[in-house]
């Protein structure tokens, strides 16, 4: 068994998701037809043999709690360890700041109480199917204090500007850390995953908090580059970063690519999610479907092309849905025409409505919209 525990930090800072994250924490954002973003990191944890996972939240976490429940879909409903929801501790009237250090300070007791040697510290807005075990092994071999996991991005990728990038020397040591550079000099983009000894993390948090610091990257990683041995582990697989409406839209669409889909879902490590006991999807006579991912419980009688359709969606006869993401239980009535639209949960589009967005600027219909 892996001698590591997991801490997932989740908050809506630094993301530009408009209406999509007004009703929910980004970790609870629906993805790829039947998942929430948290499913990927939780599945990665349990597939790596981690059985002690804490989720530190800040605000709007009711969707998240509803989704993870007791942790059963991930086999994390356990007597020994399992899943721990760690909502913010409220001091006085204030919720407190939402920096990583503040969130981590809230979970110190949980860290003290745990017994695993290492902590895998991670965010919840990255889609990938990785085992942390190779990185932990790398961490041990290097004798590192902190190991950061990164993947290589194209220097022209606009998303790179929002990433933390690392200068890594040939020995695998981090020699420079940059954040939000307008002209990135390195494509080594941090995946917001860190491996660190539990007791060391506790000490670093206590120190940083005492100094009034908030940021894990700026106040802990960057200031201790000289005193700590920080190594970087390169991840080679598919990485989908969700930090804006466009990246959310693009990464959903990437799941239509057979190679990407197989890497994420068809390997030996499954992606677990909450079970809904929906019936299989039913195609009626009018169904014309092309290049689309469709979850269970839908009734399809219209045209669907290049789209991601979540559980329980109805698409009526004569309706046309192109390049869209339609979330759970939404209803698209007859002769509606949708292109480049993200339809959030439980929306209804009455007969004959037409909505057209752009791939670079999809229209978002907030949860429970009725048109």
């Amino acid at each position: 068994m892996t001698d590591a525990m997991g801490i997932i930090l989740t908050r809506n800072q630094d993301v530009r998701m408009n209406e999509l994250t007004q009703v929910r924490d980004i970790s609870a954002l629906p993805f790829a037809g039947r998942y929430r973003l948290i499913d990927f990191v939780l599945s990665n944890m349990v597939n790596s043999g981690i059985i002690n996972v804490g989720i530190a939240t800040h605000v709007n976490y009711s969707s998240l709690m509803d989704h993870v429940g007791s942790g059963k879909p991930w086999d994390l409903n356990r007597k020994n360890y399992g899943l721990f929801m760690l909502p913010p501790q409220v001091r006085g009237a204030s919720l407190g700041a939402a920096g990583d250090v503040d969130l981590l300070h809230n979970v110190l007791t949980y860290l003290h109480r745990s017994k695993q040697k290492y902590v895998v510290l991670t965010g919840a807005n990255i889609v990938c199917n990785m085992s942390y075990n190779d990185a932990i092994k790398f961490h041990e071999e290097k004798g590192a204090d902190i190991t950061v996991i990164y993947n290589e991005m194209d220097l022209n990728d606009p998303q790179l500007k929002k990433c933390t990038t690392f200068d890594v020397n040939t020995a695998g040591k981090v020699v420079g850390i940059h954040h939000n550079l307008s002209e990135p000099v390195s494509g080594n983009a941090g995946m917001d995953v860190y491996i660190i000894e539990r007791t060391k993390l506790q000490a670093l948090i206590e120190d940083a908090y005492a100094k009034g610091s908030h940021s894990f990257i700026n106040d802990i990683l960057r200031t201790s580059m000289d005193s700590l041995d920080i190594c970087a582990y390169k991840y080679e697989g598919f990485v989908g970063r969700i930090d804006s409406v466009v990246s959310y839209y693009d990464n959903n669409m990437k799941m239509l690519d057979c190679a990407v889909r197989n890497e994420i879902f068809a390997g030996k490590n499954p992606v677990y999610t909450k079970v809904k006991d929906q019936v299989p999807t039913k195609y009626l006579e009018g169904a014309k479907v092309k290049n689309s991912l469709i979850a269970d419980g839908c009734i399809i009688d219209g045209e669907v092309e290049n789209s991601i359709i979540f559980r329980g969606v109805h698409i009526a006869k004569g309706a046309s849905v192109k390049n869209c993401i339609v979330m759970q239980n939404s209803v698209i009535q007859e002769r509606c025409d949708l292109e480049n639209v993200v339809v959030d949960k439980e929306c209804t589009l009455r007969t004959g409505k037409r909505l057209v967005g752009q791939p670079t600027y999809p229209v978002i219909l907030p949860k429970r919209t009725l048109i």
Partner: protein
């Protein structure tokens, strides 16, 4: 001890031999149905929605897969502190130990199990019917009538009545006569194999039946007639709705196809009466550019590149480019190659069909595969086998072994 009002006992021990190769490795209640269910999901889900949470499942024939499927019962919310679902195979007693000799004997051998819960009533169910039914309403009726036993009945077409156990009733719904598969039926009310008994009464008759020499230890043949002879009050509870016995290849095929009717004859979308099943850990299904899917049910994890019409596809099925699949039921993990044609077939789990295969072509002579289990042009392909490229199979065929290209 705390008394449980009602215990359900599900008879799931039969082989269901008329399903041919489909039940060569699993008991009938564990056979795949409707894309993501097993037949027993209906009885178990009905119990849970009816508020019955103490359930014994009587197994005997090839129980491994059924046992694994039921597990701790959490799929149906039956992992309870008090009660829950229990798999009850026959077991060794002090002096004897024997197989379940009949439906009544199976319950007789588990009298101690039922007694643990000290219930007022016992519901006896078959694990091999497709229907949605509120057993609680039936139990209320049973109590109102003050009956010793209540039998659920459904009107069947007169010409088919001689295939069923037929009840004759008086104006009040009291059963006056019971005839098992009568040649000249006097009523068209067929027993659905759903019984509610006052436990104290049933126990007495089970013990008595066991001591009767020559008894077949069967509910329909022995217990019910004995109670009627004694003048016990037996009532018929009329059920309206969809009910289907899936004992044959043809009826299994028909019941699956019934799910495709629009509007559906059996509403599976009712959120208040969901049929629970083990859900696959698979992504949504994918329909490619160039594929065509109409009048079909598809489950998660499928990849469709060909044409699919009037089919039920279970999880993880792949249909290759240029292939045409019609009027068929594909069990989990079936892989179909390219330019293959499948018509009116049931294909077992994890079977692979190569390229240019033909199944269900009337012009193909398939004498070697002919089977008494297959009728109505339905072909049956067993699980975990391979049909190589260019293999051709006719109608009413049952293929049990790999056929090389």
């Amino acid at each position: 001890m705390k008394a449980t009002k009602c215990v359900a006992m599900i008879l799931a021990g039969g082989q269901g031999s008329r399903l041919g190769i489909l039940t060569s490795k699993v008991a009938k209640p564990a056979v795949t149905f409707g894309g993501k269910y097993r037949i027993i999901d209906f009885a178990l889900s009905n119990c849970v929605h009816s508020g019955i949470s103490t359930i014994g499942v009587l197994t005997q024939y090839k129980p491994l897969e059924l046992n694994t499927y039921i597990g701790n019962g959490s799929t149906w919310d039956l992992d309870r502190n008090d009660g829950g679902v229990f798999v009850l195979p026959p077991y060794q007693k002090e002096e004897t130990g024997e197989w379940y000799k009949g439906t009544a004997n199976a319950i007789y051998q588990n009298i101690e199990f039922v007694d643990q819960y000290n219930p007022e009533h016992v519901v006896i169910l078959s694990g091999d019917h497709i229907y949605k039914m509120d057993y609680n309403k039936m139990m209320q009726y049973h109590e109102e009538k003050g009956a010793a036993a209540t039998i659920a009945v459904i009107p069947v077409p007169w010409e088919e009545a001689s295939r069923f156990g037929i009840m004759e009733t008086d104006g009040e719904g009291t059963i006056t006569r019971f005839a098992e598969k009568p040649k000249e039926p006097k009523s068209n009310l067929a027993s659905m194999g759903v019984y509610v008994f006052k436990w104290s009464a049933l126990k007495e008759y089970l013990i008595r039946d066991e001591k009767t020499p020559g008894s077949e230890n069967d509910f329909g043949k022995n217990i019910i007639p004995a109670m009627l002879d004694d003048g016990q009050k037996l009532t018929a509870y009329g059920f309206e709705g969809y009910w289907k016995d899936v004992g044959t290849v043809q009826s299994l095929w028909e019941a699956n196809m019934d799910l495709l009717s629009d509007p559906p004859i059996l509403d599976m979308y009712d959120a208040d009466w969901r049929i629970f099943s083990r859900n696959p850990v698979k992504p949504p299904h994918y329909v490619a550019d160039g594929a065509s899917v109409t009048n079909t049910c598809i489950t998660e994890g499928c990849n469709i590149y060909g044409d699919v019409k009037n089919c039920i596809l279970s999880e993880g099925v792949t249909v290759g480019k240029g292939s045409v699949v019609e009027d068929s039921i594909l069990f989990p993990g079936v892989t179909i190659g390219e330019n293959t044609v499948v018509k009116k077939a049931i294909i077992g789990s994890d079977t692979t069909l190569g390229n240019n295969v033909v199944i269900g072509d009337k012009s193909v002579d398939s004498k070697e595969f002919e089977s008494k289990y297959c009728s109505a042009d339905i072909s049956l392909i067993g699980g975990n086998i391979t049909l190589g490229d260019n293999v051709k199979i006719g109608v009413n065929a049952m293929v049990t072994k790999t056929v090389e290209a």
